[in-house]
Every structure is written in structure tokens, then in C-alpha cells.
């Protein structure tokens, strides 16, 4: 059997050429393989570069974030304790009251006796900080000096008193820090009963033996008890306290006109003397506080009782103390009936007459005729009010007073008050006789 050999095409390709061609193909294969390896290396290089680019981007992004954080920190206030979530919520509210009063005391001329504007400015810095300041602006007759040290009336004067100016800082749910010139929680009348809140135009007599405000610091708070609205409240404070007019511990001093006046000053002593010297009138501050309990049977049916006191030195030498104790109570039975009062006792140590004890008490009841359910608006807008108060100045003068009056509510904040006061006063410092008082009050 013979093998058929392919015939070379036309014998133009020699064996040598064929070999060259085969070598060329082999070289091309090698080059392709080399190129493929190079391509794989290039792709690996590209992947590495892409990874590096990613890392670079992350570094750049991180740097940008750090730069933003640094910028934000620079824009924050210096004090790191400030919680910025509470900032920029400032709000100002004007509250307060205004009164005009007409009256007549037995044996004296009747007259418009008072024009009073008592604004309260409330400035809320944030959810926890409030600054509040109250003024009492009154118009009264001006004074003229006459011969022989006599005084006449000339023109009018406007008096501006700072009733209180305090900063309230809510530390937490149970502690609020109050600092400044504060209404004192000796009983509840001064904080809750003054101005248009009271249903009788003048204050109970024994409130005159207590300071209305004090300069210092107070901590207060309340703890809810149960779920019916009960609460236990506390207040504790330190203030400069009372002082002596002439600096001594004597019970009285004599003024330029020869008048013998009480030496105990309940309303001053801010630690700066009248000559401007920066010196406290006596060394140690007075301390005081109040503990109260409020019990609610249901809305409008409740009672509250509290006990409060203050003690501290009052003469410049710091040898004599002034002390006070107050028991207060209030009862509400229905939205119409209220009964409240205070018992006040004070002790004044002196150099010349030992310890004397000004004291007194008052009780006030009121009833809104709306409780009768009559379909008569003019009757339903009336509230009847009555008060009995007593003051013993501890130096031989005793005063008792019975007051009966009505309140007519034109609106919830505009009210007319009319009262007659039967007053009995005996002793060396007896006060004027019975009086009637009419007052128009507006609360805002």
C-alpha cells in the first residue's frame, strides 16, 4: 500500500521556507504569550492604582470631615458646659398688674389714694433659665419743707421700687436655684397673694412684721407624691437678713424731728451702706426655709399646709438675732370656696428691752356666687370675701380688724373690689380708725 504524500503547491515553497514560516509562527505565538502576560501585569497595576485612588479618596474625605468638625468646634461658645440644644429659644413676656384705689379713713378726707403699675418682665434664656424682675411704680404727693421742720405737699412724685429681681436656674426636676432679690417663702402670701391676686386691696396686718424680700440664694423644689396631684415642697435660703437703722441693738432710735422710731429694718441690708461703702451691715447672713404639703382630693378640692421660718442677726455687732416662724394653710372646696390664713410669730432680741415678740394671724374666706348656679351673670360674677386679722407689735399696741367685701369680675383679669374695714387699735402706736376702700385691678 503506498502512502500518498500531499503535493506541494507548485513547488514554490521550499522546505527551507516552510521551516522559516514555522519558526515565524512559533515566534508570533511566543510574542502573543508575552503580550498576554504584559496585559495581565498591566491590569494588576491598574487594579492596584484603583485601590490606591480609593484609599486616597477616603483619606481626603476623612480630612474634609476633620476640617468640618474643627470648623464647627471653633464656632461653638468657649464654655463647653453649655448645652446648645437649648439655645436660641429666647422669649420675653410682660406680666404683672395695675391698680387704682379710692378710699376714706374715718376722720380723714376721702381721696384717690393709689395709682399703681406693677409690671413683671420675664426673660427666658432657654428651657432651664429664667430671669424675672418686678417693679412697683406709684404716684404720690410730693413734699415741701415748711417752717419749724413741718412738711407740706407740693406737686407729685413717682416712686419706683424693685419688688424682686431674680435668676431662676432649673438644675433638675427636683432642684431649682434662685439668686438675687427674691420674694421670701415665709408663709405663702408674699409669693402668691400680692397685687391683683389678693381679693382684698390691702395686706393682712401681721405681714408687716415680716420682710417681703431678701437678697441672697434660694434652693427649692417639689416631689410629687402618688398620682392624685399631691406634692411635698421645700425651700431653703440664705439672705442678708434684717438690719439695724442706727447700727445698735436698741429697740428704737430717734430721728431728726425727735420722733422715736423702730430700729429694726426688715426691708434693706443689701450689704452696701448708705454712704456707698462695700461692707455688710452685719457679718453673717440669715437662714430660712419652708416645708409644705399639698393634698388634692380632686381638682378644686384640696388643702395645703406649710411651716416656714428664718433666723439671723440684725444689729451691726452681730449680738442680737431676729427670728420668725410662720404656719400657713389653705383649703379649696369646689371652684367657689376658699379658706386660707397664716399664723406669724417673731422674736426680736434687743440691747435695751430684752426680747420682744411681735406676732399676729389672719384668716380669709371667700365664696363665688357662680356656685349658686343662678342664670344671672351679674350675680354669678360676684365673689364675697371676708377677713379677720390681728397684730400685736410686742410693745404694747394691739390691732384687730374685720373686713367684709365684694369682688366683681368684669373679665377673668379685670376686677372691682370694694371693702369696709372695722379696725380696733389700742396702745402707744395705735393706727387710724375704720376705712372703706374701692379698687379697680387689672392683671396681665
Amino acid at each position: 500500500m503506498g502512502i500518498v504524500q500531499p503535493r506541494r503547491a507548485a513547488a514554490e515553497v521550499s522546505d527551507e521556507d516552510f521551516k522559516k514560516l514555522a519558526d515565524a509562527v512559533a515566534q508570533l505565538d511566543q510574542k502573543v504569550e508575552t503580550l498576554q502576560q504584559t496585559h495581565e501585569k498591566d491590569q494588576e497595576t491598574i487594579r492596584q492604582l484603583q485601590r490606591q485612588i480609593g484609599k486616597t479618596k477616603a483619606i481626603a474625605s476623612d480630612a474634609q470631615q476633620k476640617a468640618d468638625d474643627a470648623t464647627q468646634k471653633l464656632q461653638q461658645p468657649v464654655n463647653p458646659m453649655v448645652d446648645l440644644s437649648n439655645a436660641a429659644t429666647h422669649n420675653v413676656v410682660l406680666a404683672g398688674d395695675a391698680e387704682i384705689q379710692f378710699g376714706r379713713t374715718t376722720g380723714q378726707h376721702s381721696s384717690f389714694t393709689l395709682a399703681d403699675f406693677a409690671p413683671i418682665f420675664l426673660y427666658r434664656a432657654n428651657d432651664n433659665i429664667l430671669f424675672e424682675v418686678g417693679f412697683d411704680i406709684r404716684l404720690q404727693n410730693g413734699a415741701a419743707s415748711l417752717q419749724n421742720n413741718q412738711t407740706g405737699n407740693l406737686g407729685s412724685q413717682t416712686s419706683v421700687d424693685l419688688s424682686f429681681a431674680q435668676l431662676d436656674y432649673i438644675l433638675n426636676d427636683y432642684v431649682t436655684v434662685v439668686a438675687g432679690d427674691m420674694l421670701l417663702p415665709l408663709g405663702t402670701y408674699q409669693e402668691r397673694g400680692a397685687g391683683w391676686l389678693n381679693k382684698i386691696p390691702d395686706d393682712p396686718l401681721p405681714r408687716s412684721i415680716l420682710p417681703s424680700s431678701g437678697v441672697g440664694v434660694l434652693l427649692r423644689g417639689a416631689f410629687p407624691v402618688g398620682k392624685a396631684g399631691d406634692s411635698l415642697t421645700y425651700s431653703i435660703y440664705g439672705v442678708n437678713g434684717p438690719s439695724s437703722v442706727d447700727g445698735t441693738g436698741n429697740s428704737t432710735y430717734t430721728d431728726n424731728n425727735g420722733n422715736v422710731m423702730p430700729n429694726l429694718d426688715l426691708g434693706g441690708n443689701i450689704g452696701i451702706t448708705s454712704s456707698g461703702n462695700n461692707a455688710n451691715l452685719h457679718n453673717d447672713p440669715s437662714g430660712g426655709g419652708r416645708l409644705g404639703y399639698f393634698h388634692a382630693f380632686k381638682p378644686h378640692y384640696d388643702f395645703e399646709i406649710g411651716i416656714s421660718g428664718q433666723r439671723g442677726e440684725w444689729d451691726n455687732a452681730g449680738n442680737r438675732d431676729w427670728s420668725a416662724a410662720v404656719v400657713d394653710a389653705a383649703v379649696h372646696v369646689s371652684p367657689y370656696f376658699e379658706l386660707k390664713g397664716e399664723y406669724i410669730n417673731t422674736w426680736v432680741e434687743t440691747d435695751d428691752i430684752g426680747t420682744f415678740k411681735p406676732n399676729g394671724w389672719w384668716i380669709q374666706g371667700s365664696y363665688k356666687l357662680a356656685g349658686l348656679g343662678l342664670e344671672m351673670p351679674y350675680i354669678s360674677n360676684v365673689e364675697l370675701v371676708s377677713r379677720y386679722d390681728m397684730l400685736n407689735d410686742g410693745l404694747g399696741t394691739k390691732t384687730t380688724r374685720t373686713t367684709a367685701g365684694v369682688v366683681y369680675y368684669f373679665t377673668n383679669t379685670l376686677q372691682f373690689e370694694g371693702d369696709y374695714e372695722w379696725l380696733r387699735s389700742r396702745g402707744p402706736a395705735a393706727v387710724p380708725d375704720s376705712a372703706f376702700i374701692l379698687q379697680l385691678s387689672y392683671g396681665f
Binding site: L130, D173, R220, H300, V333, P335, Y336, G365, S434
Partner: protein, 111 residues
């Protein structure tokens, strides 16, 4: 008419007792009537024991203790927030109750 001082004092005491008697009588009259609610008092929202008292309940309970009722629409929400700090400090109200009252006043203020 000029009366002797002692007579005036006796008269004053009697009038004082009379007024007190009127007030007490009116109170007793109201005890049966006053029962539940007044036209001037907003009816409280329903509450449950687990939730405690509502803001409306607490508002009715605390605010009228010292002053006439102030209506929620008298002030805006931000103003109520300021006023409630003032009242919380002045009346020494528990924080949780003051917050409920504020929530009620702000909701009802419409602002």
C-alpha cells in the same frame, strides 16, 4: 350718725360675724350643687390611674389656687413656656406636673 366707740366695735364684730355667716351659708349651699363642674371651668380630660392626672386636670387643680383662670389662647406656645417656668418656681410645682400643664396650655393655645 356718730356712735360711741364701744358701740361701733360691737357693731363691727356683729357685721363681721354676719358676713362670715353669709359666706359659710353660701358655701354650704354650694356643697350640694357645686358638685361637678362649673360653666367657668373646663371639664378635665379623661384620665387613667396608670397615666396619672392629665394636663387639664392639673391646670384646674393648681392655677385657680392663687388667681383667676387664664385661658390657653391668651398666650402663644412660646410665651406659655416662659410663663410656666415662672409659675413652676413661684408656686413650687413638681416638674412632671408643670410639664403636663405646659403641654395642655400649648396644645390649647392654637399656636
Amino acid at each position: 350718725m356718730h356712735l360711741p366707740t364701744s358701740l361701733k366695735q360691737r357693731l363691727a364684730i356683729r357685721v363681721g360675724f354676719a358676713v362670715t355667716a353669709v359666706v359659710a351659708s353660701a358655701f354650704l349651699l354650694s356643697a350640694g350643687y357645686a358638685g361637678e363642674g362649673s360653666k367657668s371651668v373646663k371639664p378635665p380630660e379623661k384620665t387613667t390611674e396608670s397615666q396619672g392626672l392629665s394636663g387639664a386636670d392639673l391646670y384646674a387643680m393648681h392655677c385657680n389656687r392663687c388667681h383667676s383662670e387664664r385661658y390657653p389662647k391668651e398666650f402663644q406656645a412660646a410665651q406659655w413656656q416662659t410663663i410656666m417656668i415662672h409659675m413652676r418656681v413661684r408656686a413650687n410645682l413638681p416638674a412632671s406636673q408643670a410639664k403636663e400643664i405646659l403641654k395642655y396650655l400649648q396644645q390649647e393655645s392654637g399656636s
